[in-house]
C-alpha cells in the first residue's frame, strides 16, 4: 500500500493493464507527447510507444469511432476525452455504435472499450466546461457507468473497466486528480456494480458518487458535531446500480438524502429515489430529499458558481430536514 494521487492511481492502472494485455491501447488528445492534459498518461508513450499511446487530432466523434472499430475486431481501447464536455461530439458513437453493437449484431460483436476523462465542474470554467453527464449515459442500456471518488477506487475500478467486455463510461473528476489516498499495489481490482459504504452511521443515509462523496463526508462530519450519525454511501458504479446497499442502509436509518453534482431534472438522484420508494417505502420516516447542482448553466462568477454547486452546508440542511430538525 502506498499513498498516491488519484491521477497516479489511474496512471498505475493504465500501466498495469497495458503491460498485462497488449490488446489494450490508449487514444485521445494530448495523451502521448504532452503526457496527458491532466497528466494521467504520464510516461506511457515512452513505455509503450506511439502505436499504443496514440495522440489524435481534436476530433472526438472520429477517434471515439476509431476506438469502437478497433474494439469490434478484438482490441481493447481506452479512449480518453480531455473532458466529458467534449464527448458530446462523440455521443453518437458511444450511444449508437458502442452501446448497441452486441445487441444489434445478435450477440456476435462484443464491445470491450473504455471511454474515460474528467466530468463535472472544476473552478470558474463556465457553462461549457462544467457539466455532469453521468445521468445521460446511465440511461442507455448496453453501457456501464463508473464514477470513482478515491484514488484506490480509481485504480481498482479502471482495471475492472478495462477488463470488462462491455463499453464502460468512466467519469473522473478534475478536482479529484490531486487528491491523495492509500492505493493497494498490483492486482487491486474492484468489481463494477458494487457500492461502498464510506462511513457508517445510523440516523440518515447520504447517497453520493464521484466528487460528491467528499462533500457528503464533510457534511457527515458537520452533522456529527450536532450528534447526528450519517451513513455515507459511495455508489462507485451507476450502471449496474447496487440498489441493495442503498436499500439496506435506508432500512437502517429510515432517512435519506441523495447528493449529485448534475442538474436536478431527470438527474441520477431521481433514479435512486425511485429505487428507495419501491424497495423501502415502509421504512421511510421522511420523504427522500435531493441535493443537486442548480438548474442553470454554470455561471463563471465565483460567487454565482458556488451557489450553483452542491456543498456540505446544503447537504447538512437537507439532512436536518429529513430528520425534522430546524434548519440552520
Amino acid at each position: 500500500m502506498s499513498v498516491l494521487t488519484y491521477r497516479d492511481a489511474l496512471n498505475q492502472a493504465l500501466r498495469e493493464e497495458m503491460t498485462r494485455d497488449n490488446r489494450v491501447f490508449l487514444m485521445g488528445e494530448e495523451v502521448g507527447v504532452y503526457q496527458g492534459a491532466y497528466k494521467v498518461s504520464r510516461g506511457l508513450l515512452e513505455e509503450f510507444g506511439p502505436m499504443r499511446v496514440v495522440d489524435t487530432p481534436i476530433t472526438e466523434l472520429g477517434f471515439a469511432g476509431v476506438g469502437v472499430g478497433a474494439a469490434m475486431v478484438g482490441l481493447r481501447p481506452v479512449i480518453e476525452f480531455m473532458t466529458w464536455n467534449f464527448a458530446l461530439l462523440a455521443i453518437d458513437q458511444i450511444v449508437n455504435s458502442a452501446a448497441k453493437m452486441l445487441y444489434m449484431s445478435g450477440g456476435q460483436i462484443p464491445m470491450p472499450i473504455v471511454f474515460r476523462g474528467p466530468g463535472g465542474a472544476a473552478l470558474m470554467l463556465a457553462a461549457q466546461h462544467s457539466q455532469s453527464f453521468e445521468a445521460w449515459y446511465a440511461n442507455v442500456p448496453g453501457l456501464k457507468v463508473v464514477t470513482p471518488a478515491t484514488p484506490a477506487d480509481a485504480k481498482g475500478l479502471l482495471k475492472s473497466a478495462i477488463r470488462d467486455d462491455n463499453p464502460v463510461i468512466f467519469i473522473e473528476g478534475e478536482m479529484l486528480y490531486n487528491t491523495k489516498g492509500e492505493v493497494p499495489e498490483g492486482e487491486h481490482v474492484i468489481p463494477l456494480g458494487v457500492a461502498d459504504v464510506k462511513r457508517e452511521g445510523k440516523d440518515v443515509t447520504l447517497v453520493s458518487h464521484a466528487k460528491m462523496v467528499a462533500v457528503a463526508l464533510k457534511a457527515a462530519e458537520e452533522l456529527e458535531k450536532d450528534g447526528i450519525s450519517a451513513e455515507v454511501i459511495d455508489l462507485r458504479t451507476l450502471r449496474p446500480l447496487d440498489a441493495a446497499t442503498i436499500t439496506a442502509s435506508v432500512r437502517k436509518t429510515n432517512r435519506c438524502v441523495v447528493v449529485e453534482e448534475g442538474w436536478p431534472v431527470a438527474g441520477f438522484g431521481a433514479q435512486i429515489v425511485d429505487e428507495i420508494q419501491r424497495a423501502a417505502f415502509d421504512d421511510l420516516d421522511a420523504p427522500v430529499l435531493r441535493v443537486t447542482g442548480a438548474d442553470v448553466p454554470m455561471p463563471y462568477n465565483r460567487h454565482l458558481e458556488k451557489l450553483a454547486k452542491p456543498d456540505a452546508a446544503k447537504v447538512v440542511q437537507a439532512a436536518r430536514q429529513v430528520l425534522y430538525l430546524p434548519t440552520l
Binding site: 487530432p57 469511432g65 476509431v66 478497433a70 475486431v73 458513437q93 452486441l102 449484431s105 456501464k144 467486455d165
Partner: protein
C-alpha cells in the same frame, strides 16, 4: 497469348477467369432477384421498418467483393443487403433477418439495416449516415496495430460525405496511413436531395485532396471497372498501408426506401429510364456473350438457379421461428 499457344499444356487461366466472370454475373443477378422479392415481401407486411433496396447498384458490391480476401473486413451503411450477399452470406440468413426471424444473421434483432456475420468479417449494417466510417478507420487501425495485411472496406452513400464523421475518419486514416478503402457509392441522391443540392463540389473524389489520399472516380455500372479500381486500392493498402477513396458512380433504380416512389419529386422518369438502359447486369451479360463466355443456355440456367435460391430463402424465412421472449434481454451485456 503467343506464350499460351506455344505452351505444351493448355492454359487453365482463361477458363478460370471465365468462371470468375460468370460467378460475378450470378452474384449480381442473385442480389437483383433477392431485392425484388424483398420488395414483394415488404408489400405483404413480412418485412417491417425501413427497407432500402440495392437494385441498380449491384456492380459496386460484387466488383468489390471479387477482390477481397476472406480475412478482410467490410462495413456498410443501411442499404447493405447487396454487400451482405456478395460477401457470401446466405440468402437464407439475410432474408430471415429481414423477416425478423431467429434464424436471421443477427438473430432477428438487427433487421434490414443491421446485417452482421462475423464469420464473413461482415461487420454490419449501420444506420446513422456516415457514423460507421470512423469505425472502418478503427478496424484499419487494428489491422496495422497487429501488423496485418488485410484491408478494411467502408461502403457509404454520397450523402455521407458532407458529414463530419466522413472527414474525421478519412483524415485519421491518411494521417496514420491505415489500410482502409472508402467506397462512396454515389447514386446521386441522399434520399430526395441531389448531390449538387447538398455538396459544394460535384466530384466526391476531389475531397481526397484534403487528406492527400489517392482517389479514383469509377463507373459503378461496370462491374469490371469496379473490380479493377478496388484491386488497385487493395494493393496500396496491403503493400504500403495507404488508404484510398473511391467514388463509384452508380444509380438506384428504386426509391430511397419502400415508402418512396421510383421517381418522386426529385428526379424524372426520363433520368431513371436513361440509367436503366445502363443496367449493370444486362450490360455485363451482353459483354460476356460478346466474349463467348455466356450463351442462352447458361444464362437461363443461371436465372433459374438464382430464382430457386431466392424462393428457398423466402420459404426458409417464412418457416423459421420468431425469436422467443427470452431473446429480448439477451445480448445487452456480455457477461
Amino acid at each position: 497469348m503467343t506464350d499460351a499457344a506455344a505452351a505444351p499444356a493448355p492454359d487453365k487461366k482463361p477458363a478460370k477467369e471465365a468462371d470468375a466472370l460468370r460467378r460475378m454475373l450470378r452474384d449480381m443477378l442473385l442480389i437483383r432477384r433477392f431485392e425484388e422479392k424483398s420488395g414483394e415481401a415488404y408489400a405483404l407486411g413480412k418485412i417491417g421498418g425501413f427497407c432500402h433496396l440495392y437494385i441498380g447498384q449491384e456492380a459496386v458490391a460484387v466488383g468489390t467483393m471479387a477482390v477481397l480476401r476472406p480475412d478482410d473486413y467490410v462495413l456498410a451503411s443501411y442499404r447493405e443487403h447487396g454487400q451482405a450477399l456478395a460477401r457470401g452470406m446466405t440468402a437464407r440468413a439475410v432474408m430471415a433477418e429481414l423477416f425478423g426471424k431467429a434464424t436471421g444473421c443477427s438473430g432477428g434483432k438487427g433487421g434490414s439495416m443491421h446485417l452482421f456475420d462475423v464469420s464473413k468479417n461482415f461487420l454490419g449494417g449501420h444506420a446513422i449516415v456516415g457514423g460507421h466510417i470512423p469505425l472502418v478507420t478503427g478496424v484499419a487501425f487494428a489491422i496495422k496495430y497487429r501488423e496485418g495485411d488485410q484491408v478494411a472496406v467502408a461502403f457509404f452513400g454520397e450523402a455521407a460525405v458532407n458529414n463530419g464523421a466522413f472527414h474525421e475518419a478519412l483524415n485519421m486514416a491518411a494521417l496514420w496511413r491505415l489500410p482502409a478503402i472508402f467506397i462512396c457509392e454515389n447514386n446521386r441522391y441522399g434520399m430526395g436531395t441531389a448531390l449538387e443540392r447538398a455538396s459544394a463540389i460535384y466530384d466526391v473524389a476531389q475531397r481526397a485532396c484534403s487528406y492527400d489520399m489517392p482517389a479514383e472516380v469509377v463507373d459503378g455500372m461496370d462491374v469490371l471497372a469496379v473490380r479493377d479500381a478496388v484491386a488497385r486500392a487493395a494493393h496500396r493498402a496491403r503493400d504500403r498501408y495507404t488508404p484510398t477513396l473511391l467514388e463509384i458512380r452508380t444509380y438506384r433504380f428504386m426509391g430511397h426506401s419502400m415508402s418512396d416512389p421510383i421517381h418522386g419529386h426529385y428526379r424524372t422518369k426520363d433520368e431513371v429510364d436513361e440509367m436503366r438502359a445502363r443496367d449493370p447486369i444486362l450490360t455485363f451479360a451482353e459483354k460476356l456473350r460478346a466474349d463467348g463466355i455466356l450463351d442462352d443456355e447458361r444464362w437461363q440456367a443461371m436465372e433459374a438457379d438464382v430464382v430457386d435460391e431466392v424462393a428457398d430463402a423466402v420459404r426458409f424465412a417464412d418457416e423459421s421461428p420468431e425469436p422467443g421472449p427470452e431473446a429480448l434481454a439477451t445480448d445487452v451485456y456480455r457477461a
